[in-house]
């Protein structure tokens, strides 16, 4: 009973707004009021940007290009819900947070490739991958929760995706498919962040973060094993916690024969020193996005080491 009490005290101490805000300050970011802007993503397979802009303007939706995205738009104002217009239902665009649009764009040359979307539901990034592939090649999309597969299937049907195959499968068992992938998107299940969830500080503890980090490593190891020798793996989370981000990438570099590729995209450099621990220098090539115009996000591109080729 005494042990249980102390465990409870420790969990309480390692949670709450003060605890996490202090961590962010030690990582170099000061908490501020943030309100991520609503964003949409044009489905280029289904319509050209100019035409969509005109059609949205005609129904009272004012948009502006997101400067760091090819097909992303901020929604400046709207007389209607952007998730319920005819254009949305026809799959001409998707409602997708701006930072969440980044990971799929980090791959080089997706056309005709065999691509894995390891944790796919509800399918925003699966549709984006299919769109960037121009419906060529194959996207294998997995999710472990059957309930969420219906939303994924709806998303694929709405956006006229024709090159995806969806399985109810835990990403830690992807080798059961006996496939090698040219590209792997691992948008890992994570703790999320306060900018996307107003009760985040009340609900999350460091224990959650550590549990998620372990799960992410298990998925990473399996995904890396299914990556073709010259393949690319993009890892992303919407967590701000370094254990789920830079620390995991440091682990991947040291344990999975992967190396980090430098990417040129929106965001800050990855942290190479986390709470007194020095990480591999290449971790700075990751991208960390502190909340602001977008929610918090993290993305990193990895490739197999040359020695494995």
């Amino acid at each position: 009973m005494k042990g249980f009490y102390w465990r409870l005290v420790i969990v309480r101490l390692m949670s709450g707004k003060e605890f996490f805000v202090d961590r962010y300050e030690r990582l170099g970011w000061k908490l501020k009021d943030v309100k991520p802007r609503q964003a949409i993503r044009l489905n280029i397979t289904n319509i050209e940007g100019k035409s969509l802009e005109e059609r949205l303007e005609a129904i009272g939706v004012e948009v502006e290009k997101v400067p760091f995205l090819e097909t992303g738009y901020w929604v400046l104002g709207s007389k209607v819900s952007v998730g319920a217009t005819a254009e949305y239902l026809l799959g001409l665009y998707s409602v997708q947070e701006a930072a969440a649009q980044i990971p799929a764009t980090l791959f080089t040359d997706l056309k005709g490739k065999t691509v894995l979307d390891a944790c796919a539901a509800p399918g925003g990034k699966t549709v984006q991958l299919a769109d960037l592939m121009g419906n060529t090649g194959v996207v294998v999309a997995l999710d472990v929760r059957k309930r969420r597969l219906a939303a994924l299937a709806n998303h694929l049907e709405r956006c006229h995706v024709s090159n995806a195959v969806v399985y109810e499968l835990d990403a830690r068992q992807v080798s059961r498919l006996k496939l090698k992938f040219d590209r792997v998107l691992l948008d890992a299940p994570c703790s999320g962040n306060f900018a996307a969830d107003r009760n985040w500080f009340k609900r999350r503890t460091l224990k959650d973060v550590e549990r998620n980090a372990r799960l992410q490593r298990e998925i990473l190891a399996e995904a890396a094993a299914c990556l073709s020798d010259d393949g690319e793996l993009v890892y992303s989370t919407c967590s701000l916690e370094p254990e789920e981000n830079e620390v995991n990438m440091d682990w991947a570099v040291k344990h999975l024969d992967l190396r980090i590729e430098e990417v040129d995209c929106y965001g800050d450099k990855g942290l190479t020193e986390v709470f007194g621990s020095r990480l591999d220098a290449s971790v700075e090539w990751c991208r960390r996005i502190w909340p602001g115009e977008t929610q918090g996000f993290f993305a990193c591109k990895l490739k197999k080491r040359e020695s494995k080729l």
């Binding site: 005819a86 026809l90 065999t114 194959v138 024709s162 995806a164 195959v165 399985y167 109810e168």
Partner: protein, 151 residues
Amino acid sequence: MKFAVQVGARFSLNADLTVNRAGRYFLLNKALLEVARKNFYYAGTYLGKVKNGKFFPSFNLLAMLAEGEANKIVVENKAAWLFICGRDVFGKGIVAVHGSRRKRDHTLVLNEFGECLGFGRIVGSLGEAAKKGEVAVKNISDIGDFLRREI
């Protein structure tokens, strides 16, 4: 494809690429056929499902049928929006009619951009109904269903 005939379309599918998965039909391409295992949840282009012996077409299939010769009506903006909201099409909202005008026939409903919004059953003479302001096409299925499914 009985349904294609119902909407006056000439349409055929490659049987080798069409897969029935627990009453749901999918059209795969060769690349997908190579990697798809039997236990997939969704693959390629969803064509529709059979429930209680009746075929319910997907919106992807409707869009494919709308690309060719078929019974089609083109409706103006407001009628298009009301149709997506589950309402029937009044004659005055119809801009153009292609194919059958016969009562009880099925027809695809397109917006002025030529995009398929769903389909319905002709219940009034399309030309005369326009004058009387009566329901001309009864809504059977529309893309607003994507939102209704999520409720």
